[in-house]
Symmetry: D2
Subunit: 106 residues, 4 copies
């Protein structure tokens, strides 16, 4: 894609700027960020815990519930992108690498 | 970025193709995918649980440990992107929306 | 301990009575309860995510924070005991069994 | 129950002895133990992620799967009891306190 900045890298930069503006870098060790990912993933799974599989499908979620879920997905993503940024991990690359490994397993 | 396909959408398509080739769509309800995200986030946080904050930093991780962490980050990302795909959630959009909400809070 | 009812079994009974009084049994499948455990564990880890190891120690936690942590520990325990109850798992027994397995590993 | 040692306290003592024999106390900060609880809760939820609600019920689990689940329940419990021990939290007491709070909410 030539000189284009990647979408994921753009998002990482925006998250970094957000954290830096609040002097949060000191809190954002990889250890702490892994906890934040797990904490937000806990909130995400909570959204679904009393729904049946059917009720959890997009067409059966009301607008408010879907919005709550979107916000939890966003929270997990924000901390996961941030963790990737502080560890200098190329997210798209590792995702494709893991899919290749999974291809051989399944 | 004109008519370019977004990087995140490309990854979603690749993950979808991977799942479809294995007839996994039936398992990939939003409820089950939220559990998979939480499960992988648990494995990610496990990688860091006995490290100090200092030891968790990129410059202090050895190559093998860093690779293990990358693979766990990839696993969380793969299920999170897949969940976004089945719920038709625009990941970049909700991340920016959530950052805007956070801007007002912090 | 003769005919004494075990403390863990007493707690399981109290949690079961609480759930039954609210007609929650239908929601309390093992699958859903495992999600509830993970969700509450996410809230527990969130309490600690920005604390240093030192700050997380009992003597350094203020009363309010310690109380928040206690309530999250209770939430994880309530769902874990409930899951053990619906699966008819003897919690003390499996804990001791797992410690024996760990003794050989470590 | 007079001078009887409580079952939960006995288990805490056994876990403490296990950790002390391996010089693990230094790793067992409340922060790290909260991560271990979340990590094990992730493994527990993983056991159930591709099962339907029906398949997750005791009568539908085969012996091997049920045993895997028991071992994951034990792992969460071991770290949760250990965390309660290092924070000097009376687990039965906080569980009953939380049930009382929930009684007013639901």
């Amino acid at each position: 894609m030539g000189s284009l900045v990647s979408e994921i890298n753009e998002l990482k930069s925006e998250i970094r700027a957000f954290a830096d503006a609040r002097d949060w870098a000191i809190f954002h060790t990889p250890k702490n960020l892994s906890m934040a990912v797990a904490g937000e993933a806990g909130e995400l799974v909570s959204e679904f815990q009393w729904l049946t599989a059917e009720e959890s499908k997009k067409e059966n979620l009301d607008a408010e519930k879907l919005n709550d879920i979107k916000m939890e997905i966003a929270d997990v993503a924000l901390y996961l992108f941030r963790l990737s940024d502080v560890l200098d991990v190329d997210l798209a690359e590792v995702m494709r690498e893991k899919m290749k490994i999974n291809e051989e397993r399944f």
